[in-house]
Symmetry: C2
DNA sequence: CTTGCTAACTTAGGCTGCTAAGGTACGAGG
DNA sequence: CCTCGTACCTTAGCAGCCTAAGTTAGCAAG
């Protein structure tokens, strides 16, 4: 059987995401998924591939989301000659303003929850990052390096 | 802006779920979502409402999943006269065997990941449970008790 | 018996995630 | 110029979660 911890994490994340989604939908009419994508671009994700990695999602999912956000006028998508099929992502002014408002709405809520629960933020974050890092390493091993396989 | 920790958790869970899903699909032809539902029933979730709470999902989602699993012959659904509209859930033999095989497949993988990452399983689990508990409390406050509101 | 209340479940429609397969832009070698 | 390899993105179709609104079973009061 799987570890109890793995599905407790699943449940925690599902409920956190649902709570954030409800807040953003009510006050800004935008889903949490869309906000996260915009926030990642604001934080430096400059291509779809980078954005997918940032979110822990696949590229097709990201492709569709970028299309939607561009159509809504929140995201500017462009290509640069000489850089292959890469798309360059940037927020429009409307997008930047939305991210700002949504950010303010969520600000502090999660920290408040953590504080009330008595969990040490820093150590929980450190552990979460270690798990992510180890997951990267495991996938690295599963998909062996092709540049050496010549 | 939201806490970095909240989206690191989101990303970690998304990738863990995807990894587990790939494994189960490859070896047993079943999705991780379906396995989790069956596993919860094996673990004592005896009605759809309980199952939804166990998974951190809404009741309509659970309703559909139960329908699918029943149709596949993995879950037995019945009603008991005198207990309202409640459905009693139980695994069929095929369901129990599938849960068993899938459980073996996942067994130890997550613990191995945690061990390699250097994270202390017990304390990470304790913190995760505290966060879940606090989230319950917060939702309790948000939806005030109606039995007193008379 | 009918009306109203509560608990539990279902239906309808939309959004977003995934996999598998296909398309596009650039650079290197013939 | 043509072809191949690499990197990046898209299309098609399916799975599963959500919200809002509706349904069903039991119970209690008139």
């Amino acid at each position: 059987m799987p570890s109890a911890l793995s599905y407790e994490l699943h449940k925690l994340t599902a409920r956190l995401d649902r709570a954030a989604d409800g807040l953003l939908r009510t006050h800004e009419g935008v889903s949490y998924s869309r906000f996260l994508s915009l926030f990642a671009v604001a934080g430096g994700a400059a291509s779809q591939r980078e954005l997918a990695a940032w979110l822990g999602q696949t590229e097709p999912s990201t492709s569709r989301m970028v299309g939607v956000l561009a159509q809504e006028g929140l995201l500017a998508v462009s290509t640069v000659p000489g850089q292959g099929n890469r798309r360059v992502l940037a927020l429009t002014q409307a997008g930047a303003e939305l991210v700002d408002r949504c950010g303010r709405l969520l600000e502090g809520r999660f920290e408040e929850l953590v504080k009330r629960s008595g969990v040490a933020y820093a150590s929980y974050q450190r552990d979460t990052r270690r798990l992510l890092g180890q997951l990267d390493a495991a996938e690295q091993r599963a998909a062996p390096d092709r540049t050496e396989a010549t």
